[in-house]
């Protein structure tokens, strides 16, 4: 690249760097502020003067959340649902794509069209809701698992990748007498592992953030997910069964508990984020080109 050193160029570069610095600050500062509030004391929260550093540092809000049964239960629910949903949806995608890409498969065109139609048409919110209620899945974990398991884009991307695998590889394994299932998991899976990692991470993040299904189908508080619990805490400013002082007020200021819950909810994503960033970007790019 050729370097330019005209006065207008230098002015532009200065403004450009300034813009991106301001932009990065606009993303980071609200989170740092939220973290500082979650670690501050009651009176500091009342005064509302907390900036980027905790005032009257304490972990009371986090302790409150850690011993709260409802919060802990929704944490477990979320972990469980994320693991189950991610494993099922990625496995189903891979199996479907393998079958669709197989040379002996009869009815490829029909099944493919059947899949594509669901990408463009849908019954909409109300008919889906009525169906799930009619099936008796309301207020069960099934309502949070079954309806969203199929991702047409994953299947299409997987199929395109399997189509491009060397044919000799599959044929030699076939001659050795390997069945379809062992072929799929021993030969094909290792070849599409990077994409699988991307799908696993995408799914895991999406399911970790899931709350709408809970709003629609779940009545039982013990079945809430973390995000839904957070929504409740953010709007009420308190936990379901939080400790109260003799005057019936919460011991921890609503602002503290809100931001502490928010921090705990995003913590897993922040922790894995640096390690999996390359998969995110890989997935986003391939998904756009192939999907």
């Amino acid at each position: 690249m050729i370097a330019y050193k005209t006065p207008s160029r230098i002015i532009f570069q200065t403004l450009n760097y300034t813009f991106f610095i301001v932009f990065s600050i606009s993303i980071l500062v609200p989170f740092i502020n939220a973290l500082a509030i979650s670690l501050s004391g009651y009176h500091a929260a009342v005064a509302g003067k907390i900036g980027l550093w905790p005032v009257d540092f304490q972990l009371a809000a986090y302790k409150e959340l850690a011993v709260n049964k409802t919060f802990f239960r929704s944490f477990l629910n979320t972990v469980g649902l994320t693991v189950v949903n991610t494993i099922l949806s990625v496995t189903i995608s891979l199996c479907s794509a393998y079958a669709l890409a197989h040379k002996y498969f009869i009815g490829r065109g029909v099944v493919f069209t059947y899949l594509l139609i669901t990408m463009f048409f849908s019954g909409g919110l109300i008919p889906t809701y009525l169906l799930i209620m009619e099936l008796g899945l309301g207020n069960t974990y099934w309502a949070l698992i079954l309806p969203g398991l199929i991702h047409p884009t994953y299947i299409i991307i997987y199929k395109n990748m399997i189509d491009r695998l060397p044919k000799e590889l599959m044929e030699s394994a076939e001659v050795d007498g390997a069945g379809e299932f062992s072929l799929l998991f021993r030969i094909v899976l290792p070849m599409v592992l990077p994409m699988t990692m991307a799908f696993v991470i995408f799914s895991a993040v999406a399911y970790w953030n899931e709350w709408f299904g809970v709003l629609l189908y779940i009545r039982d508080k013990s079945m809430w997910t973390l995000q839904f619990q957070l929504r409740e805490i953010l709007s009420r400013g308190a936990l379901e069964d939080q400790q109260l002082n003799p005057f019936g007020e919460t011991i921890i200021h609503p602002e503290n508990i809100k931001m502490a819950a928010l921090m705990l909810t995003i913590l897993p994503i922040i922790i894995i984020y640096p390690f999996v960033q390359k998969y995110f970007i890989h997935g986003q790019f391939v998904g756009a080109v192939k999907g």
């Binding site: 690249m1 991106f20 109300i126 009525l130 709408f212 602002e255 931001m259």
Partner: protein
């Protein structure tokens, strides 16, 4: 298809044929087992609800069920088309979408072009990493952050404005600026992530083109307009088409989680209206009719904008 071709291929030895056919049938059964979860789940959770759309033309009653409810023709369509509330919601949907297209759609393009001018590698990488982050957080978290940060009493932003002598601004409850907040929140959350696609396109441009343009006396700005932007056009057109098709559908989560009763009048869109009236007031048939109209309009838009794009630029989705 491949199967037909492979069946007629001569086999190496005649006596292996029955065995091969047996293997092939066994394979086929395994393949159908592998694909059956997808076929069944789609049938139950996608195709049956598509059939359930007929309740838009019925008076759905929970006691009679979908099949036995009475047909009423276009009654629900007539009802909402003459309802003032519906038109208000429709207006909001279109206005927010126009803002989203004017600002939200162009933001990642500008972002990618500007970021391309950063030559300091480390700075660029750190900035990009930060910019992707909010995309992976839920709208619940983002809305919580916005309400906290922009709060008129304790929010850090209003205290910052106070340093310059400004009165606190009620960002989240002021109807005249709430739509702006919605559009800004979407850009804030997604601009870096959406720009990845444009980064990839820019990275694929042959650098000799820039050298040649420089020798011809084109400055950096002119190079952007004659080289970079034309190369980005196919991607921009494609994404624009997809965006246009969803002009009647706004991401439900963003509006639903950011809004509050004080700003319902300016922020209620079709999807939030369908949720509130449909599920909270149990107007199942009416809101299914609205949903059906929304997806029909979207489909017509997709088809026609694709046709238009093919006529004008020779590029389309299919």
């Amino acid at each position: 298809m491949n199967e037909a071709a492979s069946v007629t291929q001569p086999e190496p030895a005649l006596n292996t044929r029955p065995k091969k056919r047996k293997v092939r049938i066994k394979t086929l059964i395994s393949l159908y087992i592998l694909i059956s979860p997808m076929v069944i789940l789609l049938f139950i959770f996608k195709y049956i609800p598509m059939y359930g759309v007929i309740i838009a033309f019925k008076d759905f009653s929970v006691y009679k069920g979908i099949l036995n409810s009475d047909w009423v023709g276009f009654k629900h369509f007539e009802y909402f088309l003459t309802d003032d509330k519906f038109w208000q919601v429709m207006r909001n949907t279109l206005i927010i979408n126009c803002y989203d297209i004017i600002f939200g759609f162009t933001a990642p393009i500008v972002f990618a072009l500007l970021a391309n001018e950063i030559y300091q590698k480390t700075f660029k990488r750190v900035m990009q990493t930060i910019s992707y982050l909010p995309h992976f957080l839920s709208w619940i978290v983002v809305s919580g952050i916005f309400y906290q940060f922009l709060s008129p009493e304790t929010g850090m932003f209003n205290r910052f404005l106070g340093l310059f002598g400004f009165e606190p601004i009620y960002f989240m409850t002021e109807p005249s600026i709430f739509r702006g907040i919605l559009v800004f929140a979407d850009i804030w959350k997604n601009v870096g992530w959406s720009a990845i696609l444009y980064f990839a396109v820019i990275a694929g441009i042959d650098s000799h083109l820039y050298d040649a343009a420089w020798i011809d006396g084109a400055g950096r700005l002119r190079q952007v307009f004659v080289i970079t932007l034309p190369h980005m056009m196919p991607m921009i057109t494609l994404l624009f088409l997809l965006r246009l098709a969803s002009i009647f559908g706004i991401g439900f989560e963003r509006v639903f989680l950011m809004q509050n009763p004080l700003v319902y009048d300016v922020s209620d869109v079709i999807s939030t209206y369908v949720y509130r009236v449909g599920l909270e007031q149990a107007q199942y048939s009416l809101t299914t009719a609205i949903g059906l109209m929304e997806s029909l309009l979207g489909f017509i838009l997709l088809i026609s904008s694709n046709w238009l794009s093919k006529r004008i630029s020779g590029m389309g989705l299919y």
